[in-house]
Symmetry: C2
Subunit: 584 residues, 2 copies
């Protein structure tokens, strides 16, 4: 009954080499985060569901991994369901009885119809199988044959009544399946009192008749019921929660960084994982634009030390986008506009305009934003063009001002390797960013797209009740940075800190001598190992080669070590000091 081992879709094992390379990237981020005064925090892998749900839009909610409440609750749940169950069937019974009696009373010549019979039988039909609707209808027809005035019209209405009842029935059951779980918690407080259940049932009925069925978002409704915890979806909401929860211990402005995994129930696909690291640096509690300046420098510092040339840090400002929306007089078309404009290089001005018109952006609007169609030149020139374009938009002008401050100071302070560029098509996080918007593009020669992003969001912590806290931050995409460095072979060889020397094992007494030397080497921080078993020599040599261990000590006799360099093949006898200097 051995299982063929595997891991869940969208997750990964990391081999020693991969872990070492990832830690190399992380250690460089960490170093610069701290040079810039950002302090590390860590938050739990799972948060209370209330903390996360509703913060990422409906789609986001669906992608949040929910954690099942631990076992014990299920006994209760089942008992509880049994009770709700009975109540609900009383309810179903009444609902159906009433509506059908109601219907029968309305039937033109109901004298000919034996109501009771109709009612009971039809109830049974409905109980035992909602799919028996047709039989039920058939049955009614035979009953109603007797009725002279029975006609299509009645049949239609009959059909309606049934359809309605089925709906009621279905919804009650659906609601029950969900709601009976919702109330596990209440269960603990409120006892099984009948009062409680009748209230509960009343509530249900109200829902059933006044709630549009479609509006039931299952994934949303289900989550708090059998699950009260959910895995972290990003690092921003937990950070906001952290700030509010610990506001009295925190000295503001608070610069924090956080490097932890997040989880998303995305459809797994190439380069998209269900568990991946986020590396965020954020400041909360200051509106100073110097922070935007600093964050651009921080991006530059990290990518420079990683040896990554040709990184472009794109910047835009939410207020500029709003300004453009004003100008084109269609804020709802803003995304269509930026998406189309972004294709300028590919499909040319005409192509872009064509697409914009198709999306319902007016000729007139296009004329107004004509400057954006040859939006080239230095940042200064671009800003110049924008200030003309947005001269009538108060918000737009504010955005240009902010942008100007950031870009001027960044260029005056200078960047090591990266290039800062203004990209008015940059519209990421449009629904929460309120000021600067950042995105980092990998070097052109690697087709990787964005390797980082961020921006300014006023009222970061409002959702948790702490108002007027502006936040600005950036995020590094560890997985993609890894792929870029790998493709460009920018990982230093030293990253994989493999063992430096393997001592061969010829049996106990010699192995002891080896262990003495090994312990001493380890005290000098030289990575040394004994081959644990006295196996065949060539097997031991192969082990060293396969492990990429450069040196082997073959023999130790009167304090002399026979050291072999597996790369050069050269072999020599060394005393202790030579051995160390050789291996250092």
């Amino acid at each position: 009954m051995a299982q063929k081992p595997s891991i869940p879709k969208g997750t990964r094992d990391f081999s020693p080499v991969e872990v070492s390379k990832r830690n190399y990237i992380i250690s460089i981020m960490r170093k610069h985060f701290e040079n810039y005064g950002y302090q590390p925090i860590e938050t739990p892998s799972f948060e209370n569901s209330e903390t996360l749900m509703g913060k990422y839009g409906e789609e986001g909610d669906r992608l949040i991994f929910k954690i099942l409440n631990s076992g014990d609750l299920f006994q209760e749940k089942v008992e509880f369901n049994l009770k709700v169950y009975n109540k609900l069937f009383e309810l179903i019974n009444l609902t159906l009885k009433d509506s059908i009696i109601g219907f029968c009373n309305e039937l033109s010549d109901n004298r000919l119809v034996n109501q009771r019979e109709v009612v009971d039988e039809s109830i049974l039909e409905l109980y035992f199988d909602k799919n028996h609707l047709n039989n039920a209808l058939l049955f009614f027809n035979t009953k109603l044959k007797k009725s002279r005035t029975f006609n299509l019209n009645n049949k239609e209405r009959l059909y309606e009544v049934f359809k309605h009842n089925i709906e009621v029935y279905k919804r009650i059951v659906v609601e029950f399946l969900l709601s009976s779980e919702i109330n596990i918690k209440d269960l603990k407080n409120k006892s099984y009192s009948n009062k409680y259940f009748s209230d509960f049932v009343d509530e249900l009925v109200t829902n059933i008749f006044y709630k549009n069925h479609k509006s039931l978002n299952f994934s949303h409704v289900i989550s708090p019921q059998i699950s009260e915890k959910a895995l972290r979806y990003d690092l921003t909401v937990p950070f906001a929660r952290y700030v509010v929860q610990h506001q009295n211990e925190i000295e503001f402005p608070f610069k924090r960084y956080q490097i932890q995994p997040v989880w998303r129930a995305d459809r797994p696909q190439k380069g998209r994982f269900r568990e991946f690291y986020q590396c965020d640096a954020d400041v909360v509690g200051s509106t100073s634009l110097w922070l935007e300046v600093e964050l651009v420098q921080l991006y530059d510092s990290v990518f420079a030390e990683l040896g990554l040339n040709g990184v472009t840090i794109k910047i835009n400002n939410r207020k500029i986008l709003s300004g453009i929306a004003e100008v084109i007089g269609a804020s709802d078309k803003l995304i269509d506009f930026t998406v189309a404009l972004d294709k300028l290089d590919k499909i040319g001005e005409e192509g872009v305009k064509k697409e914009m018109l198709e999306k319902g952006i007016s000729e007139n609007a296009l004329e107004k934003v004509q400057p954006l169609f040859n939006f080239t030149g230095t940042i200064e020139e671009k800003i110049e063009k924008l200030s003309v374009l947005l001269s009538n938009s108060e918000e737009g002008k504010k955005g240009i001002e902010e942008l100007k401050f950031i870009c001027d100071n960044v260029s005056k302070l200078g960047l090591k390797k990266a290039v800062l560029d203004l990209d008015v098509t940059l519209a990421r996080g449009l629904n929460y960013y309120t000021g600067a918007i950042f995105e980092v593009a990998a070097p052109k020669e690697v087709a990787m797209g964005s390797i980082g992003g961020g921006g300014r969001y006023d009222d970061l912590t409002g959702i948790f009740g702490l108002k007027n806290m502006s936040g600005v931050g950036i995020s590094f995409g560890l997985d993609r940075i890894y792929l870029v460095l790998d493709e460009l072979q920018l990982f230093p060889e030293t990253v994989i800190g493999s063992t430096k020397v393997l001592f061969l094992n010829f049996g106990e007494s010699q192995a002891f001598e080896a262990m003495k030397a090994i312990s001493a080497l380890r005290n000098q921080n030289i990575k040394a190992e004994l081959y644990p078993d006295a196996a065949k020599i060539d097997k031991q040599f192969k082990h060293a080669e396969r492990r990429g261990i450069p040196y082997v000590v073959k023999e130790i006799s009167n304090d002399l070590f026979t050291l072999k360099n597996l790369k050069t093949g050269e072999q020599k006898q060394t005393d202790w000091n030579d051995l160390i200097s050789e291996l250092k």
Copy 2:
């Protein structure tokens, strides 16, 4: 609608200071793990449920956090439940009808009873509320008043029939609530065909009548149904899975370390958390006892560098425990025996023996193990005593041999700070360790107990189909080590790498000069910050104090910096070079 933010029971936020201290411990472990040739791997936070379930015993299974399948499945589940539902009620209907008709037929003078009526009404009663049993009985009584031969005896039997029906009803519903979820998976393969459902229902009925209700382990049954993934419970099972899954890429013997969080749905309590880090070093693929020797040294190296004096590494061997069990002729009493023996210091020899006798260990057995009651002296002396005691136990002798090899070599190689001690009462992991057993005791002056443990387990990977792979490993208890170091104030001050210098902000032009200097300092890896806003001076000073920033630059004029040391209060003008040397 702002929420009062909080985190789940048993989880923790880590402040900058706490993270820094934890990373300090981890970095030292990491360094020594790698000096000893152990390579880092990482595995996903959640594994497929099959990988984890059944590996930790029933208790363990209950404590595994299960992850809810993502939203989409619930729609299916609900539809599915609706269908099962209807089938089940047909079934209930039949069951009850039959048994009641059966009963009525048997009623002595059934002519007087209107069967149909009785049946239908009673069915309704049962449907709508199983608690209506009494009303139902009442109702029957009135019906049966007419029957002259009606007597207590009938009434009893009637009651029986109903009680039985209720049971059937209840169990069907319970089974349904569970089974309807069990089958979400099948749902995908088998269609909604009626055949499928009738099979399903048949199966249910069989269960209902032949399965003992108690035997349903809910937490276990429920888990694979709405959840196919579970959070890592420890690092050992994922490691075993990793080894088997990647056996072709791995060069054996494989020395790996892994430092990652694990999750357990334990009742939260002081010092026990639902999310905590494990730090494991294991070797798989060799039975060499040199590995046990090395692991003792590894413990010593880490705790020595952490500056922890008075650590005791306790060692024992499973085979010795088996030997002792042989000698006392009661392997089932082994735990009772070790637990009692462990109290020797507290309750003395007589107390221990009293407890052992109470536990059913024979006088005779106690005489045999008399040596264990003054089991003092050096390891060598203890081993000597054991070899006499276990001279007739093959397994026991093997255990002593192993123990002797490890202890002799460790003492000949020497330890830096820790003390190795043989503790025959050490019986941790008795159900999986097969050879050496380790446990590390914190220094006596801190009441912390075990801060690490491990041992040898043959056939580590057998559960996943890779036989004959012996493994040996140790684990470090990060949280407890943290508490010990904190209590003994062994964290170096430098651990909290707070910012070195804060530049005050007097507005744009001066702030720009500051940013120039700050960028240059950061390039020298000196942690420097600008106070982001041009706030009141004393507010900016307070910020530096609260943040524990030792230096403040108050002013910059013609390349001279007014530097204030907040500890000494001393203030001076420095040029660039002095500034750097001051802050380095």
